[in-house]
């Protein structure tokens, strides 16, 4: 049977986005997630991770971000812990999506994407750490579909 939980550590470097992707793809494929679901989970975690390492630390040290992913009862649960400055993404402003191209600003977009791709996002500050818990409902595992041009 496929393992239903993985944990890994990422350094606070953008190059770790590739490591994140590799872990997610391997885990997602082992439990039979669709490519679309792996993509969405990857994007949400990418945005939150990129946000943490871009704004979370005000020293030049390399920090460690811990990620745990588990799969149970058709639900994916992601846990992201960092020792950066307190930041609660669930309280971040939603960008104005009705704007014209001239008015459109990119700030806050990453968090907006992450919130939309997940079914639940919870934040806790505990023992000097930011702890994010994300939940995503997934359908029963189905075989990977080939891309259909539309």
């Amino acid at each position: 049977m496929a393992k239903n939980k993985i944990s890994f550590k990422l350094k606070s470097k953008l190059s770790e986005l590739d490591t994140l992707c590799q872990h997610l793809e391997r885990f997602g494929q082992s439990i039979g997630l669709s490519p679309k679901c792996i993509f969405e989970a990857n994007l949400a975690l990418d945005e939150l991770f990129t946000n943490i390492i871009s704004y979370g630390f005000n020293d030049n040290k390399v920090h460690t971000i811990e990620v745990t992913i588990s799969h149970k009862n058709n639900k994916l649960i992601f846990n992201i812990e960092d020792d950066g400055m307190p930041f609660n993404p669930t309280e971040a402003d939603t960008p104005d999506l009705e704007c014209t191209i001239e008015e459109c600003k990119i700030g806050g977009l990453g968090i907006h994407l992450a919130k939309n791709l997940m079914d639940e996002v919870c934040y806790q500050r505990c023992k000097e750490k930011n702890i994010l818990t994300l939940k995503k409902n997934v359908k029963e595992a189905e075989p990977a579909k080939k891309r259909v041009k539309g």
Partner: protein, 110 residues
Amino acid sequence: MEIIEESQSGVNIFKLNGRLDSNTSQGFEKKIFQAIDDGSKSMLIDFKDLEYISSAGLRVILKATKALKREEGKMMLCDMQDYVKEVFEIAGFDSFLTIVGTMDDALQAF
């Protein structure tokens, strides 16, 4: 990520292959702004082989489209996988970017 630049009927085509994220978006930004500086007015980004895009990639496309608009140029995007298109929709970018099905559709629309 690999970026292939081509020119067809006066349209600068950027074919993206791989992952457009915070790691790779700077390289893409350089290439696309080099073309705008060189006077390109018609641009097409082909997403056929793009597996992944994050907000860092959206940012570059937004910035380039704005710059091109100021020069009275035109930007089109084509051949996106469904889940890539969904990212543009969640971001609300599909309301002001021109996203079409195939490269032929795009080239005819310039």
